[in-house]
Subunit: 320 residues, 2 copies
């Protein structure tokens, strides 16, 4: 399989300039202070501060930018109702092209409204019909499908997170990155291992949705039943890998580890209290690994990616 390369990610960096935020690395004092010992320190990469609240705008923007102009003008479509749907709407709006987001008719009205507020056309269908409706829209209206992670340009766009980490911290030793569908981890591992081969890139997923760990062990995509994967609070990380993301992770990820939902809750609370960042549960998974699994991690200067911040305010209240 042809994997994404560093040059693809460097091209993406040009395409996202001025649309995605160039997030800084934030030294996090409390990450060490609360551990009560000296350490080389941890830095946070706050992707929750991107427009629409997650790293997803990087991949969406790059994928839209890579479309031939005539196809782009016809518009784009996705059936992701999560962070990718809003990111694609944002990216399409910046180009002034149509965007359709096929959402399940059981989606919370606040999500539908937020997606519409970004200029997207929302098509509500029964959950089981989402994929079929999307394909129908592709055929009937000439829309280009932009999936959330099973797409080379999307992976290249997410990889700019890794590119920026090494640009800002050339002697980074460890990068911790959440794993859902694997697009972010695939891109970050590609960039970091190309630029700094000695650094370890470690994926983190909920132990209640450890399908990526199982997939890496099995060498093929293992999908957990929905009723099992949906137990974790980290809704952004319930998705299975694709063959494409698995191929990247198999080749380039150094390790994958799991965190409990309680550890994730603790990380969300501590990020808000002492890093002044609002993270969603999936967005805090890498931080949970740093706080609770240091002994299992390689030593050295560590960056944890805070991948998203779209948390229900009532849940955040309960974790403060």
């Amino acid at each position: 399989m042809d994997l994404v390369g560093l040059d693809d990610i460097q091209a993406a960096a040009e395409n996202i300039r001025g649309v995605a935020v160039r997030t800084p690395l934030l030294p996090w004092l409390d990450g060490d202070r609360t551990l009560g010992r000296r350490s080389p320190g941890v830095l946070l990469k706050p992707e929750n501060l991107q427009p629409t609240g997650a790293f997803k705008v990087r991949g969406a923007r790059h994928a839209v930018a890579c479309l031939p102009e005539a196809r782009r003008a016809a518009g784009v479509v996705t059936h992701s109702s999560g962070n990718h749907g809003q990111a694609l709407a944002y990216a399409a709006r910046a180009f002034g092209v149509p965007c359709v987001v096929v959402m399940p008719d059981v989606a919370p009205p606040v999500k539908v409204a937020a997606t519409r507020a970004l200029g997207a056309e929302v098509v509500l269908v029964p959950p089981a019909e989402r994929l079929a409706r999307m394909q129908q829209l592709v055929a009937s209206r000439g829309l280009s499908p932009i999936p959330p992670y099973d797409h080379r340009d999307v992976i290249a766009g997410q990889g700019t997170v890794g590119l920026e980490i090494v640009q800002d911290l050339s002697d980074v030793d460890v990068v911790l990155v959440p794993v859902g569908g694997g697009g972010l981890a695939a891109g970050v591992a590609t960039a970091v291992k190309a630029l700094r081969p000695s650094a370890a890139v470690v994926g983190v997923e909920p132990e209640l949705a450890a399908d990526a760990r199982d997939s890496l062990a099995a060498g093929t995509v293992v999908t957990w039943p929905v009723e099992r994967a949906y137990q974790t609070i980290a809704d952004a990380l319930r998705t299975p890998l694709s063959e494409l993301t698995l191929a990247h992770l198999s080749a380039r990820l150094d390790d994958i580890l799991t965190v409990s939902d309680d550890e994730i809750r603790d990380a969300v609370g501590r990020l808000a209290r002492s890093a002044r960042l609002v993270a969603e549960p999936g967005g805090a998974a890498a931080v949970a690994a740093y706080l609770h699994h240091r002994a299992s991690l390689p030593a050295g200067r560590t960056v944890a990616v805070v991948s998203g911040g779209n948390i229900d305010p009532q849940l955040l209240r309960s974790l403060l």
Copy 2:
């Protein structure tokens, strides 16, 4: 009076590199979406993400860096128990020099512990004796006093916020900045008016602590009685101006306006819910002005400085 100039702020930018975070400008969709109309948009300058949670590290770092080496080695002292005390401790630690923070013996233990965790020596005294004890420490131990805002180097350091705003948004039209002791507003106004004279710099303070407005109107420092100024929830903005900061604001600030405590509370909640930023009340004052006083503001591309994020978690809970 000799005012701080652009060259002083450019020198400060060199001195803070790698110690203060180079914060990005964050497009804030909700700031406009909730207003229900098109606008040129607002961008947030998230200084709550600095180490120790506020812009203060900029001025503290620059002031320590400007000390002659022998004096710096002897150490620094301040009697601020707020964000400046922790920022000075952080700046001193980066230089490996002693830092003493004189705090009132009624200070919350959590603040004392946080200051000590940054390596500072905390001296607890009855509130009325703070200044005298600091002066005694200056005399007996050769410590250099670094006040929170009544100091040219501190103002120059805070001015780097304005420098970065114009670097990142050269066509900025309006900059909204909270006013407490006036160091941040003085520095930001100095940088912005020097680099982009057509931009308006507007100070924002609580209507329950509107001593800066009164001072600008009177042309002399007006100090509100403590029991009056302490009514506002914005604890970081209760401080009076100094002659030095008033001189800068008189010469360079375009306007000053006040916000209610309810407007501040609303801004804190909205920043957490839709900008994924934890702000303290004083840190959200400029955003409150944008959300609730648009009609009183000049038109155009607007930046609001989110100056700090050290909020009690229980208060944040109540505002979500």
